[in-house]
Symmetry: C2
Subunit: 360 residues, 2 copies
């Protein structure tokens, strides 16, 4: 059954529409800030989830230290709106990016991450162009096998390289432990810390990451800050991971059933160009339909969501508007130019996803 | 090894960047127009792939009849740039969309698709508001189990519903046969045609679809037009399907290797927010790296492409810029606000993806 709010959304904006409940957003912001405060760790939220300076400022107003971005283009949007403390948790490479980083450094306290000598060797160009030092944290792999040096020894060597180069300041360590990998992260950190101290260096930033890691915040002795992202909206993955309830999911995709060609199947007007093919770490189907929890979004065409209704006792008719909690909210937000803001059953505005699509 | 053009792209725009070779684009446009001409079928390209009025006009200049869109928002962008014959191959529902459709009908010859009585019952609102008739084609399922009526009998009944409603004109049939399903599509069509003729109706549009179906164009007796989309750029799926060669792939994603934390793995700066998680119908990995064909893009984080180099004899260093042919180009184009245009080794401009992100 189409809820009254869904009918309003469809009438005013059409579907598919991304809708955020600001009451839930504010509650999520407050809850996670309290977790960080209690753990004695600064909160540096990752804006990859919402890509909105407006929401970043709400996070800062609630107590966040600054923000984390993944791309220079995201940082540029945030800095242009007055956010003045930004960590880019990513290897930034190349002349074009160094020029942009230098420009950002004029107005903004910038910290960047690096996990290799090539990245570090390029960074003095930005510091030189900016006429001020650039703070660099060393990204350490603590189990995800993504970016990050694999050993404390490499981290110590990179710290020394940073210190030896003009314009660069060794700022500390960036980690993203797996949910179970915090003891290993501690061992890694302790050894890296001892090494840099032996070289006369002291970290000022020791950063951990991830909303699924919220139960672990503060567990790393020496950590100064945490970088949670997804918590502002939450999603099906967070619910399955046990760090959020359905009521904590602040973003719903409103989608209309546009075809019911056979009894056991149907088509939603949200396909892979809205919900994305993100499997959510192996979840069954591509989102949770709140009105029909047994219906499965089985697969996608670009603008078609394939509904498998075989095991669903309730089956929506053509024209019904349903609410979907996506598997992975961060990639879904990135598909839209704007989200509709509501409070309870009232539409209160439209928010641009200002840093959407900043590939670089 | 970074090619000279890749170095230029990285220096001027940074990576990841979507780059289209206009020589290849024009060659693809000409080739497919010739296929349609030879088959005696009109070409109505689907703009979902490029989302650019500029490229749509190149297709029309080469002989295309008009264009196909999937969303009203795409059609609005195309119509605003002067394209005057648009088929929306999708069930359009709801008051908000009817008002927009009516507005489009003022300037543009619009045809819409429907596969059910609820959609059709809503369409007179648009015709009434526009003050002119709306042409409707009936979407028929011919094996994909997506949208489309399952039987000729249903198609005939919908044709009669269309004819009975004020402001609607029965225009014909929309099909998207599977590559092997053309004999079944013929049987379906022949029966539906006989039925509508018995009711005194005659189709003017009989539309087939799909770039993978290019070898089948003209095989349906009675078809008036074909709707290929992907052919303008092509991608790894088209190559694997045997309808394009690597040299026909006009779009490459240029991406920098930003981390090589261990000998057998690395990280690209193109993650799921650039290349998307589209599995390409079950391909191994998420794109083909032209410089390192044995390297596998094994999985993604949002801004990280995980390179598995275990089976690759050549292994890129940090800083190398590689060219990737994506699994499914249509969804990748939709991630970017613009594409860089080149001819051979020369950069010739930047093209906005003007209808990108039109969710509705």
């Amino acid at each position: 059954m189409t809820t009254p709010l869904a009918a309003k959304i469809a009438k005013e904006y059409g579907t598919p529409a991304l809708v955020i409940d600001m009451d839930r957003v504010e509650r999520n912001i407050a809850r996670v800030q309290a977790i960080c405060d209690k753990a004695g760790v600064k909160n540096r939220p990752h804006i990859k989830t919402h890509k909105s300076p407006y929401l970043a400022k709400l996070q800062i107003k609630a107590g966040a230290q600054g923000i984390t971005c993944q791309k220079l283009g995201e940082a540029e949007v945030m800095a242009a709106d007055g956010i003045d403390d930004i960590l880019i948790s990513y290897n930034i490479l190349g002349e074009e990016k160094m020029a942009r980083l230098a420009k950002l450094m004029q107005t903004t306290t910038m910290t960047v991450a690096a996990d290799n000598p090539v990245t570090i060797a390029g960074l003095p160009q930005a510091a030189r162009a900016a006429g001020r030092p650039l703070a660099v944290v060393i990204e350490c792999d603590t189990g995800r096998k993504r970016a990050g040096v694999e050993t404390p020894g490499e981290a110590i060597a990179l710290a020394q390289q940073i210190t030896a180069l003009p314009g660069l300041t060794f700022a500390g360590f960036l980690m993203y432990p797996t949910e179970k990998g915090w003891p290993e992260a501690q061992t890694f950190y302790d050894e890296a810390l001892a090494g840099v101290r032996a070289a006369g260096l002291e970290p000022t930033i020791v950063s951990t990451g991830g909303s699924p890691n919220l139960p672990n915040v503060g567990k790393l002795k020496g950590a100064t800050e945490h970088r949670p992202g997804t918590y502002i909206y939450n999603d099906r993955m967070q619910v399955v991971a046990g760090v959020a309830d359905w009521d904590d999911c602040a973003l719903h995709v409103y989608s209309t059933v546009v075809s019911r060609a056979a009894p056991e199947r149907g088509i939603l007007d949200a396909g892979s160009k809205t919900l994305t093919s993100d499997p959510g770490g192996g979840l069954d189907g591509f989102g949770q339909i709140l009105e029909h929890p047994e219906a499965k979004i089985a697969r996608f065409a670009e603008e078609h969501g394939f509904l498998d209704l075989a095991r669903s006792n309730t089956r929506p008719n053509v024209g019904e508007v349903v609410r979907i909690v996506p598997n992975h909210v961060c990639v879904v937000v990135n598909m839209a130019d704007e989200v509709v803001m509501v409070r309870g059953d009232e539409i209160v505005g439209v928010l641009p996803v200002a840093a959407r699509g900043k590939l670089r």
